[in-house]
């Protein structure tokens, strides 16, 4: 199936926007490990605009935004 992987904010430093053909067993967390920056940055996942469990299932056409929880003050 096809999904769209979109880095947000500082995640843009580590990856580009991607359109991917993936196996349906791949989760947001799996995507992070396979395609992006696998180290230290704590990230959260938003699928079609809503915060999603890292181990949830994806479906065809999903837009997955990867957001670091880093915040300034």
């Amino acid at each position: 199936m096809k999904i769209f992987l979109v880095p947000v904010g500082i995640m843009k430093k580590y990856m580009k926007e991607l359109e991917l053909e993936i196996d349906e067993t791949l989760t947001p967390k799996g995507l992070m490990e396979k395609y992006i920056f696998p180290d230290k940055l704590k990230t959260v996942y938003f699928v079609n605009g809503k915060r999603t469990d890292p181990d949830s299932k994806l479906k065809d056409g999903d837009v997955v935004k990867i957001v670091s929880t880093f915040a300034g003050g």
Partner: protein
């Protein structure tokens, strides 16, 4: 004494006298330094019935034990006393270069009372301190005064300066170090102004410091400085500043928009992000003393309506407060408005919060052109903000300037018509630029129970909720889901102690989140020789929190003041947190139980205070009920 100098300067501006004093050593072990030690001094010596802008009011500047010890993030300073904005306990922290110089001159702090008969400046050169006339600086902006002082005395003379807003007693006036670093919150610039004190300047010739275990300290320093420098978060902030991930905050609903009426504005996130600031306007990166993170920005905007020459650039809070919060996504305008606030001497967070309230009030018709002197208050109209509103506030000029110079709560009380319901403040302090509905529900609790009012740096709750730090030695080793109330009260119990430690040790949260519990304890023990374990250190932190609660109680603050306004507690209207409601009362009740705080008075029980070695404080506070 090890670590600290043990010495403070007492300034009486009524008498024109300056005396040095050795503080009792147990004050340091009990209350650490910074805002904790300042609270102890205020508790012992403060006049609780004095108006914060009266001659009797006490203004305290206090270092932490690590000031000047060449450790990243550890050379901040605290200012404290009764806040003119809120009327209760206030403290504010500042990085920059003042703290090390004060320590090298031989002092941990400065305690100021009285009012000079004419504009004055306090000049400290090692053991020589004097009050000198400063008429030539009065009425001038911080940038010009900072430059003039350095031209006159030398560039290594470290300055604290107030702007016209402080002179005019604007309730959220700042004190600015080196023209760049601010004691931003709670209005202590107005306290200086009320004392006719335009500036404090310090220069030291030596760096004599006595540590309990210098070798152990050096060992720790050699480990910690590279660790802080190389941390991924430090790298991110060095590259793109504290607004580096503003866009990520917009997606999660953390960044407030139009007076907290919205939690999502995609285009704004892309325009105001720190990377854009770097790309378009950054000319240099700067750091506070001895800090390897270097999150400070220097910017120049060469052309356009918001052109500004090279100089201090905005941080995240300023970009959001003078951007999204007031309906603007113009980064150049936020830079110019932030620069103007620095020069006039105004807190950008409270300014943004107060203007945002006024814009909503104008939109609703609760205030009209009759109340604003003909000025239209429209979302995103940055030209009016820069040309009319901010200068009007600083000068208390016209109906609008007079109204907004008091802060959002006082302005809403004066206006009536239920406008208080859409102020976004706690205990009178405007909420910083993290919306708990999107950022994390624990932050709502942390805002509410913070002694100085809504504050994101009173505790590390924001970082704890996002998983940026863990402390297994004291029981914080669990993952938190930001948008629930689960484990938030228990986490807040830890967070209030950690926050009190940070703000008493005068450590920057961006640096100290890389420090483990054993390293924290090692720092205190090698520098001050306390022989603490983690529990001892946490006990000192909780003691500081409790003491500030007692101070607030004597100012008349009780449990009902640990509250958020309806705007913060209504369901988010859009974005990722749309529809989510915070279980605020549930978290608060649980926190009160865990902290053994009286559900009506809002202060700790006698028994709990006695456990913390605060019998005398318990007796006084509970007797005055």
């Amino acid at each position: 004494m090890n670590g600290n100098t043990g010495k403070v300067i007492n300034v009486d501006l009524d008498k024109g006298s300056i005396k040095t004093e050795i503080l009792p050593e147990e004050y340091y072990a009990g209350y650490i330094g910074g805002s904790g030690l300042a609270a102890k001094l205020f508790w012992e010596r403060g006049n609780f019935s004095a108006d914060p802008l009266s001659s009797e009011a006490m203004l305290i500047f206090m270092n932490g034990p690590f000031a000047g010890l060449k450790l990243s993030g550890a050379s901040r300073n605290s200012v404290a006393g009764r806040s003119p904005l809120t009327g209760n306990w206030g403290d504010s922290s500042c990085g920059g270069y003042f703290a090390p110089e004060l320590r090298y001159a031989g002092y941990d702090g400065i305690i100021i009372k009285g009012k000079a008969s004419q504009p004055a400046m306090l000049l400290i050169e090692d053991d020589k301190a004097e009050i000198i006339p400063a008429m030539e600086y009065w009425g001038k902006g911080t940038e010009e005064v900072n430059r003039a002082i350095k031209d006159k005395y030398g560039k290594n003379y470290r300055t604290l300066v107030i702007g016209p807003a402080g002179e005019n007693l604007v309730k959220y006036s700042i004190i600015l170090n080196e023209g760049h670093h601010a004691f931003g919150r709670a209005g202590f610039g107005a306290v200086m102004g009320s004392k006719n004190l335009k500036a404090i300047v310090v220069k030291a010739s030596g760096k004599n410091m006595k540590l309990a275990d210098p070798e152990k300290y050096e060992e720790l320093r050699a480990e910690l400085n590279p660790k802080i420098k190389e941390a991924l978060a430090s790298d991110v902030m060095r590259e793109n500043g504290t607004a580096a991930n503003l866009e990520g905050g917009v997606v999660s609903g953390d960044v407030p928009i139009k007076n907290y009426t919205s939690n999502f504005w995609e285009e704004m996130g892309q325009e105001l992000n720190g990377g854009v600031l770097t790309e378009k306007y950054l000319t240099k990166r700067r750091a506070c003393a001895y800090c390897s993170i270097a999150c400070k920005r220097v910017v120049e905007i060469k052309e356009g309506p918001f052109a500004i020459p090279e100089g201090p650039g905005p941080e995240y809070e300023t970009i959001a407060a003078l951007g999204s919060l007031i309906g603007s996504m113009d980064l150049a305008a936020a830079c110019k408005a932030g620069r103007l606030c620095n020069d006039l001497g105004i807190d950008t967070i409270s300014a943004g919060g107060t203007i945002a309230w006024a814009m909503e009030a104008f939109e609703r018709g609760d205030i009209t052109e009759k109340d604003t002197g003909g000025i239209q208050l429209l979302w995103g109209d940055m030209e009016t903000v820069i040309e009319k509103i901010l200068p009007g506030i600083a000068a208390r000029k016209g109906a609008l300037g007079m109204l907004l110079a008091e802060g959002s709560l006082a302005a809403a009380v004066k206006t009536g018509k239920g406008t208080i319901n859409y102020t976004v403040q706690c205990k009178g302090l405007e909420v910083p630029m993290h919306d708990p509905r999107g950022g994390g529900h624990g932050l709502a609790l942390a805002y509410a129970v913070s002694p100085r009012g809504a504050c994101h740096v009173a505790t590390p709750m924001l970082f704890m909720e996002m998983g940026a730090c863990y402390y297994p030695e004291i029981g914080f080793e669990y993952e938190l889901e930001p948008k629930t109330d689960e484990h938030k009260a228990e986490t807040a119990v830890i967070a209030v102690a950690l926050g009190a430690i940070e703000n008493s040790a005068c450590f920057c949260q961006f640096a100290d989140r890389e420090i483990t519990m054993p390293e924290w304890v090692g720092l205190f023990n090698s520098v001050a020789g306390y022989n603490w374990d983690a529990q001892d250190m946490m006990k000192a932190g909780t003691r500081v929190f409790y003491l500030k609660r007692l101070i607030n109680y004597l100012f008349g603050r009780t449990a009902k003041d640990d509250a958020l306004t309806p705007r913060m507690l209504e369901p988010a209207r859009d974005g990722e947190p749309e529809g989510v409601v915070i279980n605020f009362e549930g978290m608060k009740n649980k926190f009160y139980g865990l902290m053994d705080m009286d559900p009506v008075k809002g202060m700790p029980s006698r028994k709990k205070l006695e456990e913390y070695g605060m019998s005398a404080e318990a007796k006084r506070a509970w007797q005055e009920t």
